[in-house]
Amino acid sequence: MKKLLVLICVLMVSLFIFSEEVITLNLIEAFSSPYRTPTLNNIIQMFETLNPGVKINVISPPYETAYQKINLMVSTEQPLDIVEIGDWDLSALAAMGKLEDLTPYIESWPEKNDMVEGVLEAASIYQGRPYLLPHGVFVKALFYRPDILAKYGIESYPKTMTELYEISKKLTESGKNQYGFAFRGKGYPTAFIDIVLTSFFDDIDPNNMYLTKSGEIIFEDPRAIEALNFYVSLYKDTAPKDSINWGWDEQVNSFVSGITPLLFQDPDTTGMLNEMLQPGQYKTSPLPLGTSGKVYPSFGFVGWGIPTYSEHKDLAWKFIKFVASAEINGYWSKSYGALPVLQSVYTYDSYFSSDLFEGWTKMFDDPEHYQFTEYPLDNENWGKWNEFQEKTMQQVLLGKLSVENCLKQWTDFWKDAGIN
């Protein structure tokens, strides 16, 4: 018995002497999914292997309530070291004053100059300071099905909005359940409406999509009437009637089944399409140019931030930097479906320079025609706007509200919100 006690004591003392102190970083993700979370866990495992004594504890709230949980945890200073932040939530979190300004970290980061142009600027929407480092970028492009287009003798994708309408109309045979454009009626249709609407302008403010360069609200401009009428005709003449009730699932389903072979979507759609379609069955192209000869895409982004009250800020940055490194960013983007944030990844990994990404590479290479702009995400009426725009747009599509009245309501909304 004495021998056993001595042995236990020796073991305890050895453990105390030789064990390292383990630092645990708490990370909360905002976009958990059965596809993405395992990839994040793999990256964390690599980081932990390279950094003995560091453990990362992942908190994965359900996607629907993630923003609320993150905001509550940060505002009440619950133990967090790395926080995932989406573009639509950045201002709300930064306004609390509880997100670390990452400028000093980013300035000393060697890969800073390798970032895709405009990404860091887009991520600095709150008071011009970067409160997060993006790990993925989302830009809408045109997805098309060459196999379906070929059946109708169409050899190329639409390069302008007029061509988009004409090709979609040519494809539409409602009796055969064949349509052209995969319309988005519900579940944040904002970007879809705005891409078409702003393409009728040639003077959109690069810092605010809803203003012209002279500071006027775009919805009170006569060009908006023409643009919105065009959008309505796209729905009425080329899309299934049911698409007024379509969200992402229905849009993609309809594209996969070939019912609507023309689709505006973000790069994360490629993940699902690669699983459901054969190689070559779909391609991407730049967004069609509007009557102005331009189109105004916007950068959607998601990234990592550090709460000001974190006790391990440097270690948290080490992880953020690790995820943003070319090799990891490529692996992450491929699994997740976002566009990489570093330019070198596009050459480093041939996947991102393949035909599949032609839509985005062409847009990035032509800043004259594809002029990136930003949403007024820092305006506190932004969330309300999404619901209001969806509802009023549906009223217009159903013929319950005129285009002119709708635009007046949109103008009044943004005037009340103090946008200009």
Binding site: E64, Y67, Q68, N71, S75, D89, S91, A92, A95, M96, G97, N177, G185, K186, G187, P240, K241, D242, S243, I244, N245, E250, N253, S254, S257, I259, E380, G383, K384, N386, E387, E390, K391, Q394, Q395, L397, L398, K400
Partner: protein
């Protein structure tokens, strides 16, 4: 308390008392009357048809037959599934483009073109109520079946001796006997249905153009779109106020008549 403050995702730091501002904001919304009207339609039609069909189901289940246990399990199964999941499943079944229901109706020759169940405002409310009725029947059936089994057989035997037919027994024995259960179940179910956004949220999120938006869905949309928790709480206060008035009136009306056999 929350409904008198300005607590939102954009304002976690300077939360203040703002009086009736949230109430003013929601009642000045031009869509709000429509939302209240939708709520009344949703509750009234859902509860009424759930009650009638649940009652019929309970009467059928009351008589013993072979495999009744398995049949009861199958009939009551929908009640065990999440309302949101039910909404999502039905949104695909009723999809106007690739929905199974449209496919079946076309194949058996009832319709020639797809019906836009969820995108036509005149059909959308009917469709979500139909699904809610299907979902809620088992609850009424369970409650009523339990009450029916407590009615003594001797009452029916005595009535039969007096020459009473099926409907005489139903209206003079069965219904009066289970009346307390019916009153309580209708009251509970009305409260639940009014606070039950799951199916609508899964099927239409209140659209198209607000045609299926009820107060409970509006409350969720206010949280998810606007992230305005105080305003969402204000919708909650409106719901509670309506239910409070309803409960008082309902109990007053139903307690006037004495329960007797």
């Amino acid at each position: 308390m929350l409904s008198f403050k300005n607590y939102s995702l954009y304002n976690f730091q300077n939360i203040e008392w703002i009086g009736f501002e949230n109430f003013k904001a929601i009642f000045s919304d031009p869509f709000y009357i429509n939302t209240i009207w939708n709520t009344l339609k949703w509750v009234l039609f859902s509860v009424f048809f759930q009650l009638i069909l649940g009652f019929i189901l309970a009467l059928l289940m009351r008589e013993p037959f072979k495999g009744r246990g398995i049949y009861a399990g199958l009939v009551f199964y929908p009640w065990a599934i999440s309302g949101f999941a039910i909404g999502l499943i039905w949104s695909w079944l009723l999809n106007g483009q690739f929905g199974v229901i449209n496919d079946i109706l076309i194949k058996i020759g009832i319709i020639e073109e797809n019906i836009s169940f969820l995108s036509d405002p005149s059909l959308a409310m009917f469709s979500v109520i139909l699904v809610n009725v299907w979902y809620g029947i088992p609850f009424f059936a369970i409650m009523i079946l339990a009450a029916l089994q407590s009615v003594p057989d001797s009452l029916y035997d005595a009535a039969e001796i007096d020459g009473a037919g099926y409907f005489t027994k139903l209206f003079n024995i069965t219904i009066p006997y289970i009346k307390p259960t019916l009153i309580n179940t209708i009251l509970l179910r009305t409260i639940w249905v009014m606070n039950f956004p799951d199916i609508i949220y899964g099927m239409t999120r209140g659209g198209p153009a607000g045609s299926t938006e009820i107060l409970a869905v509006k409350m969720i949309n206010t949280v998810f779109y606007e992230s305005n928790y105080s305003k969402a709480a204000t919708h909650g206060v409106v719901i509670i106020s309506i239910l409070f008035i309803y409960t008082i009136m309902y109990l007053k009306l139903t307690s006037k008549r004495e329960f007797s056999l």
